[in-house]
């Protein structure tokens, strides 16, 4: 048995906001792991800590305690070169977050040149290949504002892939999309999964979870409540809270 790609060990995070009387325990002693090539879907009600968990995986969110290791590198260790690690961990956001002042192609080229130190020619070649791969080969010269949500999200995925990541994190990547463009982006994610990418996916798309996930993690109030194969989880949820949740959304 090789090491898991992602190892999460007893991670906790509490948010303190002056404007809120009660601190919020967003992650409560969460432990888990994701194997290489595995696709894990994280679901749970709003505010259950899904985003916090995902963002802690690439160090975008610091945690209070516990340990996270990705591909043998400890994310939670202050001495780790977090920028080097982040290049290996792609992150796709709900609102795409394309660089607004750059064309689609430049969005994919810039991080390669700055972070991966590739030459411009090499970076452009990779970017053009990726634009073709995500299904918008002729959109390279468009600025984000000229692209549909679905197209922007494809560019964002290509931007992450250009760094040749070992892991891809998706935080509600299709939640902000028009219904007719959701399918295409999900299809792209399925294709990535089929190509063997290790993925952690937060989504409300239960169809995707059922078909593409190797494992479903159900969270509530900062804790992992249930963990199961997709079929078992949807057809025969064990916990009351998962049953409630599924009844509400299905």
């Amino acid at each position: 048995m090789s090491e898991p790609m992602i190892m999460i060990d007893a991670v906790s995070k509490t948010y303190h906001l002056k404007s809120r009387p009660e601190p919020v325990r967003a992650l409560d002693n969460v432990s888990n792991h994701v194997d290489s090539g595995e696709v894990v879907v994280v679901i749970g009600p709003s505010g259950s800590g899904k985003s916090t968990l995902l963002r802690s995986l690439n160090g975008l969110q610091e945690v209070d305690s516990g340990k996270i290791v990705i591909d043998g590198v400890e994310v939670t260790d202050k001495k780790t070169d977090i920028n080097k690690l982040r290049a290996k961990v792609g992150m796709v956001f709900q609102h795409f977050n394309l660089f607004q002042h750059k064309t689609a192609l430049e969005n994919i080229v810039m991080p390669q040149v700055i972070v991966a130190k590739r030459t411009r020619e090499e970076a452009e070649e990779i970017a053009n290949d990726l634009l073709a791969k995500v299904g918008i080969p002729d959109r390279g010269n468009n600025y984000p504002s000229m692209l549909s949500g679905g197209q922007q999200q494809r560019v964002a995925i290509a931007r992450s892939l250009a760094m040749k990541p070992k892991v891809m994190l998706f935080d509600e990547a299709t939640s902000a999309l028009d219904p007719e463009t959701v399918g295409g982006v999900l299809e792209l994610m399925r294709q990535l999964a089929a190509d063997g990418m290790t993925m952690a996916v937060v989504t409300h798309e239960m169809g995707f979870a059922r078909e593409a996930a190797d494992r479903v993690i159900f969270m509530d109030e900062g804790r992992v409540i249930e963990e199961n194969t997709p079929n078992n989880f949807f057809d025969n949820p064990q916990s009351d809270r998962a049953q409630d949740f599924l009844r509400q959304i299905l």
Partner: protein, 229 residues
């Protein structure tokens, strides 16, 4: 008919000194805009870095400059500082004018740059950090280029304010446009109204293109809000 010929005569007589005055106004305002913008840009960026003490210091600087009239600042720099007896603070009029006006400009530019940086959505830096850019790379390649676009319209309004503020410099004897006009009025006191209108026209000719540019830029780049003055 006579009076028109009269006025043309006045314009001809005053033309060289008014052009000299405009040139001085132009020089000092451009220098102040340049130096003030550089200083303001640096302070504006520094203000957003999240260092508590630095931010408080910069805020103190801004309150000092924006909470007092420019004329008083000019007096302090020209009359008071030299009396401290520190040799590098002994400014001649020209230097005092440029220094005080640059500081004044920087106080506006700092606020504009800082609020433009804050106006760039957080997701932009998060995306940049997520692909592995360092904090400074994120600023340099993602945040600042987008922020600068937002600063163009308010910056143009500040530049117009600075240009007009140079009129105050006549009080320390700088021969800028207003001062040249005052000298002309001493020569031709009967034409005071006409000469002041002429001066206003000169200022207008300088400011109007900047204002037009500001309007155009506002349409093109949007704005991060008006400057208060």
């Amino acid at each position: 008919m006579d009076s028109i010929i009269d006025k043309i005569g006045i314009v001809q007589a005053l033309w060289p000194s008014l052009v000299k005055g405009l040139w001085m106004t132009f020089q000092i305002s451009i220098l102040a805009i340049l130096l003030g913008s550089i200083l303001g840009f640096c302070l504006g960026v520094a203000k957003t870095l999240g260092y508590f003490v630095l931010e408080k210091l910069i805020n103190g600087y801004l309150h000092l400059l924006r909470g007092s009239p420019y004329l008083v600042q000019l007096y302090i720099i020209f009359f008071v500082l030299p009396s401290l007896g520190i040799s590098w603070l002994q400014f001649d009029g020209y230097t005092a004018a440029v220094v005080s006006l640059s500081l004044y400009t920087s106080s506006y530019v700092t606020e504009i740059v800082a609020s433009a940086i804050f106006a760039v959505p957080n997701g932009q830096s998060e995306a940049a950090r997520s692909v592995g850019m360092t904090r400074s790379q994120t600023y340099r390649y993602v945040v600042i280029p987008q922020a600068l676009k937002l600063t163009i319209p308010p910056m143009a309004s500040v530049y117009v304010i600075v240009i007009k503020s140079t009129a105050v410099l006549s009080v320390i004897g700088i021969s800028e446009l207003t001062r040249q006009g005052e000298v002309a009025i001493m020569r031709m006191p009967g034409d005071i109204m006409f000469i002041y209108c002429l001066i206003a026209l000169f200022y207008f000719l300088y400011c109007y293109p900047v204002l037009r540019f500001s309007k155009w830029a506002e349409g093109k780049f949007g704005s991060v809000g008006d400057v208060d003055h």
